[in-house]
Symmetry: C2
Amino acid sequence: MTYELYYWPGIQGRGEFIRLALEQAGADYRDVAREPDGMSAMLHLLEDEAQPYPPFAPPFLRDGEFLIAQTANILLYLGGHLGLAPTDEAGRLWTHQLQLTLIDFLVEIHDTHHPIAGGLYYADQKTEAARRAADFRANRLPKFLGYFEQLLDANPAGAGWLVGDTLTYADLSLFQTLAGLYYAFPRAMATVQDDCPHLAALHDRVLALPRINAYLGSERRLLFNEEGIFRHYPELDP
Amino acid sequence: MTYELYYWPGIQGRGEFIRLALEQAGADYRDVAREPDGMSAMLHLLEDEAQPYPPFAPPFLRDGEFLIAQTANILLYLGGHLGLAPTDEAGRLWTHQLQLTLIDFLVEIHDTHHPIAGGLYYADQKTEAARRAADFRANRLPKFLGYFEQLLDANPAGAGWLVGDTLTYADLSLFQTLAGLYYAFPRAMATVQDDCPHLAALHDRVLALPRINAYLGSERRLLFNEEGIFRHYPELDP
């Protein structure tokens, strides 16, 4: 069965968390909206009122007749089917809990450059963005990073992964979050990195996974840019 | 087994979505942080580095030895255990997907009065809040409400619930969202209500559930106030 991923072409965005899981599992998938006529296929699905499970927004994933949306929900589904999460209830929910916390973090990262409205340009909300980003750098960034650093430090399995001694999709998502932050906030990250050795090690450990490494060097991996969630605006990272 | 809910006392907040599910199921639970010394018990759990599943933030729920956080994750867990969600994979994930979309909506509702920083007072970000709330009323509120209205309209089971022909926790959460919006944005809601008859009917249907009705009239139900997520600031709803 070929999975079909639907997400805005041109940005990593939330779709990237799904791509990393599919790539690490070696799953057969299509990135539909990046194919010719793929955008119209995606918009058609979004507007199709006959869908039994209509998504509110991309990303969504089609697996046969099943259409599933919400990034964390897709990973909850794929985690079980691709072997990227524990199979017991406690482990499955814990992995999902970490993913939901990473998504909360992601919203706050996005809102550093769009604190007023997603429908407006950054240029239309630069003053507010500067204020929000300052609070983000001072308070929210260290709080979220400190939480995940502490988890890695306290994991009794001690293998450097978030959940037990095995890679899960939460590790891939934490890697993506860190990679995005290194891109968007290099100066702020430099000031906290000495306090986060486990995070840096996890980033490098994921980077060295053969399938992830091959993916990141391929044309399938989009580059970070100033259309996505992680944007490098020097004035927001002084 | 008595469930233990931990959430900031004094506000409905995210904890209310959990309370409504527990109340509708007739579950035995304690609202720990509202009990004497409950706040210190909650803070102790939040700071306990020996916890195998440490939460990032309230709410969290203790069920025996199991500690689970993230509102939608708690409901995913309770939905199965309390009979408030389908038991098949597709139905379970669809109900969860709706909950995650309601949580996205909730974040945007919150950020109308706190667009810059959760750690600052509303008075410190009133100018930005006015701008964000204007976009929310014009664009985001109708988009989210229209999505759920359309779901109710298209549900082939036609019983007035979101998922199939049976009440789920997603209906309770949609009720809470609507109740909060009626409180916070009465004028904006008045302008959209003619377009959303199914939402109004769902609100009233949940309100009439005997256990929910008894709960809402009890002292266990906190009132909406200007410390919570849904705040009525007339200047944000002109």
